[in-house]
Point group: D2
Chain length 336, copies 4
């Protein structure tokens, strides 16, 4: 069977098609025939060696994928051959709090990921695909929407009528938009593109802000809320945007940190954290229990992840270039 | 100014129009010119002497009302003359847990209620009326919707995709339907009337059940959920229905007890509570903090309480007869 | 290897010593050489056929046991040969909420229990024994203390300075006394024996009450708290005592239902649940995550479960008679 | 009556004894005859003009104080003349989340503080003094212990057996030590003085670390916990110490930010927040409801705040010099 793997050295130019033996399921494992996989910014950084330079090679990239179980090992009862499933990004985070063991069990590095025609996974590490979703749509769920769900619901306990601030129109923000609107929140979203803001409005965003036109957007959002501030910020920008996010948050509000976009060190207005009684909450995707709770919400609301473009498996490297160029709205998907 | 009061003895026939002096606001108090008041089943029981036979008379009934502040006493800064406000049913429950002090401070008994042209209240005991609501609509909020909010959100932490079971089409259940749908839940509702079930469906109910046709409705609901059970029951029937509600609930689910309809003592399947790890949660309307949180949700969703009928102040006793006859869908309102 | 099993029909007289093959661990399983097992009231009911008359026989009884891993199957990494471990009563409740799957996976019925020289368990279904405990002590942990922990901490979020009411001096109540005092709570305990109350005082109980002398003990406890009421009741009596427990609870307090002692149906003062905004919370022992959290607390405080009597394996039926006669303070243990 | 006030310009040299009229209670207010007041680092910064350079002068400093009610205004029912009370630092934070209104209502700036023989306060803004405490001890409670309580219990939901890391031996850390031990936690404390560490051990600290000898103390603490990390850090150092605190925290742990000691801007390892799923929680003292909950715990455990030194009112400026010189263990108190 065929996989793409980063060979020899990091870099998109080293992402090569390769042949591997058909995987066999061990006790408690299943083999999934992949139907689709999707890309996250983390995957791009991983392939380039920017996420974890000590990652051993070769590595099959991609954290997100969906398909069908075609073989099950001894003792597997949770799922069965023929089930449509998605991989759990953190293979060893079933429920409860995150752990170092979970951190070491993520797909697409350190473990081999989803850009393979067949992938062997723990039976505990897959989640059934909601019936209303295609594989291409399901392949978008394990990282971006689950991250948004963890932030807004598992940590944030979002309630109807609360205000949520989203940054940009990448996968996490668009998922958060869909989920927050389904939960009855008031959503404010930012972008540098009026066209994308218009599209976000059509998806339900209540207020929008072009941060290019309004560089001091933290204060602007505070003003847009009548000075009250937002209950939740889904912070994807990291070091560059955290200060603005804290300005936009209400007293006692939460800033959910999920981004790796804007560097790893920053100046932080420490005093504001305590003077406004803020919570800065780190979010690392989510657990299987959160994933299954999210799927119930997606089903009740008939929510479909936004697939921007689909690229056939044979042209998978092009998907990385698409992501690198930006400009997408929603997710870039590889179809098998 | 005119009020209705129960004089001499309990009974609807003793609900009489009377004249009282125009009230003056003491320090920290406001006078509200009532625009509308609404009826709850508790009010009917109160007037008949069934709720609290030791309630001193005369008593101005009604727990729910809305109007405009026309006078404010010394030291009032929270609200001002001209503000449109609603009364807080539990005048001394601002935030945090319920208390005996709160229990003794409810409008429409033991304290005089809202069936008066003017009412003096603590400035702390009013809540601003959302701009999108008329006084008739606002007069429906302080009891039924707040009870539903407390159950589903303050206690229940309802999340999108969870299942909610509602009983009948009275004020609390219809409010819970509106709020649960706004929050992205899957709603199952029961009634003895197919016509009312049809109306509930038009308001968003996902599944309906006629409990007259299906007397063993607890099991039926369990089956309707694929055997999983509902996450939340808003239990309004009390002693008669609790067993069914517990059957319908999922393992680890919650039954929110709010009803006073079906008597005060019952046989209880104690073992099921622990074998299914259920939570039976008593709900007594709610606090001001919950009220204000609910109002934000009503505003974001442009939710209007369902007013079934409006009766002019001059014919207020007829409103009690309407409620007693049943058959309403939503609330009966008295307009001033 | 030797086991005791209920053979042919229910009844203590049918609890017979038998020989079984030495168990082999399947994939993901371990074999535990039992060092000690302890008895719960449930075990007595189970053997008599009162807990679940449809339980297939033969059945090896006992839910609680501790020992050492002597063999591990393929793929076991969580624990290793030589580890001292305890069995998890609900074998399939690792974390998160309780489930029907968990309900069907309990030791000592429906699954074979711990009154066996060797027992095979899922590697996921054991918990490491704290180093400061003997096997006899460890064998007391999986049911009674974990039930108390779940009630007070997992559900009850007990905070220092809160008041806890405990009923009697059985295994759950004495565990709850130890844990609640370790957590800084004020503990009130009841018994029909002044001698046991004195012993509870020496273990840290702050107030005691002889319910034989004071049959209306709910009101008496309310008075002992200055009319405020207790924050938590660990309710072990069930139908007979629930009314008193609700009287003793504060407004907004919790009654944790764990008992199966006093029948399964009762009259319930439904109105009090809502008028006092009470939470009646069913408790079914607890999850592995709770067990591990509890063990950290036991270790920090050097808490040892109270072993009342130890009976050698050869005389195990006598342990059931000891439990049936009552009069114990703490746990009855079988030593291998 | 006499007060100390900062006159004309900031600076300890401008803290002058002055005469003011005896205050009269307005409606809903009380007059407290001060028995003692205590100092916090914030007070020193305030007097020097470093906390809020725009604070209008004259200002009576000090946030913490206790005494007796000697007069009550119209409508006061919550407390009465003769009650021993403490001031609530955030006068308008009774319950629920923090707010801008609360932020503007703190004693010792912007409002006049406790270094006055008599002080007028809202009746809602005082809390009854636990009977086991002297005024000097009670005067220590409103800021430092309440901050520790808010962090560990209101936000942190500390459970027995969890690990808590405390920094230094100032007022907040020593309060946190007392409260965390009362709640059954395992406490690790740092200091640059072996003598103070020894004293902390005598108060119950389980592990200690001299950060002068071990500058890389974050990693050292992680190692002291077997690599698991601490559940809670009470972070008083701010910008300088946050990185170490995050290193010491477990996956999913909390860092409670309360300090203003070490500047207001810092480099922050943003990635660690999300990779370890950390919560950085700002803490601004606490609400009245938290204060009352804490008092119950102090009473059950007979906890007395640690008073390092008492200075008579006539020599109050010396108390500021004592604080500035450091070296204290616990609190510096002014006695009236």
């Amino acid at each position: 069977m065929r996989v793409y793997q980063v060979e020899g050295a990091f870099g998109l130019e080293n992402l090569k098609l390769a042949k591997r033996d058909m995987p066999e399921p061990g006790p408690g494992q299943v083999v999934v025939k992949m139907g689709a996989a999707s890309l996250n910014f983390r995957d791009l950084m991983m392939v380039k060696g920017l996420y974890n330079p000590r990652q051993p090679l070769p590595l099959v990239p991609l954290s997100d994928g969906a398909g069908e179980i075609v073989a099950a090992g001894a003792g597997v009862t949770r799922v069965a051959v023929g089930d449509r499933v998605m991989g759990l990004f953190v293979q060893r985070w079933l429920d409860g709090p995150f752990s170092p063991e979970g951190r070491a069990s993520t797909l697409g590095g350190p473990l081999d990921g989803m850009l393979a025609e067949y992938q062997v996974l723990e039976a505990d590490g897959v989640v059934k695909t909601p019936a209303h979703l295609s594989d291409a749509e399901a392949a978008c769920l394990p990282c971006a929407p689950l991250t948004a769900w963890n932030a807004l619901f598992a940590q944030g306990n979002l309630q109807p009528g609360q205000r949520v601030l989203l940054q940009g129109t990448g996968g996490v923000s668009i998922s958060a938009l869909q989920l927050a609107k389904a939960a009855g929140a008031h959503v404010i979203i930012t972008s540098s593109s009026d066209e994308k803001l218009e599209r976000a409005r059509r998806m339900g965003a209540d207020q929008t802000l072009n941060y290019k036109e309004t560089p001091d957007w933290g204060k602007a959002v505070l003003k847009m809320t009548g000075g009250f501030g937002v209950d939740h910020v889904v912070e994807v920008g990291g070091a560059e945007t955290l200060g603005h996010s804290m300005t936009a948050a209400r007293f006692g509000g939460s800033v959910h940190m999920i981004g790796v976009l804007a560097g790893v060190m920053t100046k932080l207005p420490v005093t504001s954290i305590l003077m406004k009684h803020l919570r800065i909450q780190g979010i690392f995707v989510g657990s299987r229990a959160m994933f299954e709770a999210m799927n119930r919400a997606l089903t009740v609301h008939n929510i479909h992840p936004v697939v921007d473009q689909q690229v056939p498996f044979e042209e998978a490297p092009e998907a990385f270039h698409l992501l690198a160029r930006g400009g997408h709205f929603g997710k870039v998907v590889v179809s098998f």
